[in-house]
């Protein structure tokens, strides 16, 4: 017999809402609502990425905008060469741009993974505040690099005129693009759930609590964390590519520390280390931005108040408050 915890039920309800809301918006002919939902789903994906480092690994990275931005620029660079009919590189061999989403995703994931490997290899030698500062510094480095890189719009960013394509689908139709993003989120959530219970997840989770113990059984916490950081960066990079495709626009803002901060804030609000924490957090974030952003330019203040309340009174975030402490597996 399968018994479901409150958290599992909550997660299923959340998935249902992510299907029903856009369906309603589609039937009611509210494309803007579909776009909002798409944005929430993409940010949730970025948050699921961060949560693997932050929640499972205990790695407080303030540099995840780097991967979000790299994913975005992978899309922007490939698509701009395709739309201008100019090759990306001619020597030593020809690389053309592309408008194919799957190819762009692959490039985005590989590039952000390599960046995470380099950044992680250096910053994971430190811990605590130093780790936060070093990841922040790497993010800022890339931010200033893109600002001063004229080839792809520099400070002004770069527009892509037509959304990239996916075989068999019309990506210009908001509901179809939403479907793509939702499917990717569901796939990654499934992977993240497996990961958390896998041998790797068990060891990573233990390394967060007591690195000494993990070393003493013959496992290197550094290797666990570096692997988690790379997986985390790859997922956030994929989200960056989708985000760029949603807006058909990339700019250095994707690399800014505010982007890192926002992802971290909504993950904390939703529930760190909870599978659906980033999903709930992203939905709340987008809802607040939509509802309060119209009333006041300073809506971030309300977000800050919510964050403060969560940190002070609800350690497990919104999910923790609604469903109680996580039940130990098995």
């Amino acid at each position: 017999m399968i018994t479901m915890t409150r958290e599992t039920l909550f997660n299923l309800a959340m998935m249902a809402a992510l299907i029903l809301f856009p369906l309603w918006a589609w039937l009611a002919d509210e494309p803007f609502m579909i776009t909002l939902a798409t944005k929430a789903v993409i940010l949730a994906l970025a948050g699921v990425g961060l949560n693997i480092a932050l929640g499972l690994g205990g790695l407080v990275s303030l540099g995840h905008a780097a991967f979000f931005g790299i994913g975005g620029y992978a899309m922007g660079i490939l698509a701009s060469h395709a739309q201008n009919y100019t090759p990306l590189i001619e020597t030593p061999f020809l690389i053309e741009g592309t408008k194919s989403m799957p190819v762009i995703w692959l490039v985005a994931v590989i590039c952000s993974g390599l960046a995470a490997l380099a950044i992680g290899a250096l910053s994971l030698r430190t811990s605590g505040v130093y780790f936060i500062m070093i990841t922040l510094a790497f993010g800022q480095m890339l931010f200033f690099f893109t600002i001063s890189w004229p080839a792809y719009g520099g400070e002004d960013g770069l527009s892509i005129y037509v959304r990239n394509g996916f075989p068999g689908l019309n990506t210009l139709d908001p509901i179809q693009f939403y479907g793509i993003c939702f499917a990717l989120l569901a796939l990654v959530l499934f992977f993240a759930a497996r990961l958390a219970r896998s041998p790797f997840g068990l060891a990573l989770n233990a390394a967060r609590q007591t690195a000494e113990r993990v070393e003493t059984v013959g496992i290197s916490p550094y290797k666990l964390r570096l692997t988690a950081f790379v997986v985390s960066g790859m997922i956030t990079g994929l989200a960056g590519a989708l985000f760029a495709d949603l807006n058909r626009f990339i700019s250095p803002t994707m690399f800014s520390w505010q982007t890192s901060g926002e992802i971290m804030i909504f993950v904390i609000i939703g529930g760190v280390a909870r599978l659906f924490g980033p999903v709930v957090g992203a939905v709340i974030f987008i809802a607040l931005e939509h509802l309060l952003g119209g009333l006041s330019d300073y809506w971030h203040i309300y977000l800050g108040v919510l964050l403060l309340l969560i940190v002070l009174f609800a350690r497990g975030g919104v999910i923790g408050t609604l469903t109680g402490r996580e039940v130990a597996h098995d």
Partner: protein, 254 residues
């Protein structure tokens, strides 16, 4: 037991020295741990017992000297590498994943022993081999009924037992235990004493312990550490009769 002079030590330190600023925490320490024996390391608080354990297990580099495990020098290796070579260590202060269940902590040990922690797909607790190895260790220390309990909810004594169980999952070549009896109470100490007595047949134990009843009941040899220096090594009778030891350490207890 075989004659110590005839066989090679399982674990050996040669001339280990370590200073912290002006404090000499280890002074030219040379010890051996022979097959089948329990070698107790005693000494007053602050004598440098835990510091020596850390240098043997890999958490701390000695300033001078070497550590050998089964004849192989491991001085330059990090803690995980030494564990993989067969060093099973327990901590003076329990180092356990408190949010995880007892079983998960034991499975972590089994996972380390398997040498393949980088598996991302199948559930760790669904792995029959890992689980069997973990449950076997829990049964041996009497924690099998608490397998599903969160470690944070265990009593102090049960945490000490789990600490030993995790080391058992490694099936090490040598145990290094830092005050496993600490805070166990009389009943718990007696039970653990009985257990360690049998364990030495599987792998020898370097045992740091304050509980003198346990030490005198278990030790084949005792080394006495005072101010970072081994002032005597010998059998229980020799150590009890040693005047230096009596004045430096046992005097206030005897």
């Amino acid at each position: 037991m075989t004659d110590p002079m005839m066989t090679d030590p399982v674990l050996e330190t040669r001339g280990i020295s370590k200073t912290f600023g002006a404090l000499q925490a280890s002074k030219d320490i040379s010890l051996t741990l022979m097959p089948g024996e329990i070698h107790a390391l005693i000494g007053p608080n602050g004598a440098g017992k835990s510091t020596l354990i850390k240098q043997i297990a890999g958490g701390l580099r000695p300033d001078a000297g070497q550590v050998f495990l089964q004849g192989r020098e491991v001085t330059g290796l990090d803690t995980p590498a030494r564990a993989r070579l067969g060093l099973g260590r327990t901590f003076q202060i329990s180092a356990l994943a408190m949010e995880d269940t007892v079983l998960q902590n034991a499975v972590l040990g089994a996972l380390g022993a398997s040498g393949r922690p980088f598996r991302f797909w199948r559930a760790a607790l669904g792995d029959k081999d890992l689980r069997a190895r973990a449950q076997d260790a829990l049964e041996r220390v009497g924690l099998q009924e608490h397998a599903a309990t969160r470690t944070a909810e265990l009593s102090h004594g049960q945490r000490r037992q789990l600490e030993v169980a995790v080391a058992l999952t490694l099936r090490p070549k040598a145990f290094v235990m830092d005050e496993p009896m600490a805070g166990l109470g009389t009943g718990g100490s007696l039970r653990l004493t009985g257990f360690l007595d049998g364990l030495r047949a599987e792998a020898p134990i370097l045992l740091v312990e304050h509980d003198m009843d346990a030490v005198f009941a278990l030790a084949d040899r005792i080394s006495v550490l005072v101010y970072g220096e081994v002032i005597a090594t010998g059998t229980v009778e020799e150590i009890r009769a040693n005047p230096d030891v009596r004045s430096a350490y046992l005097g206030d207890e005897a």
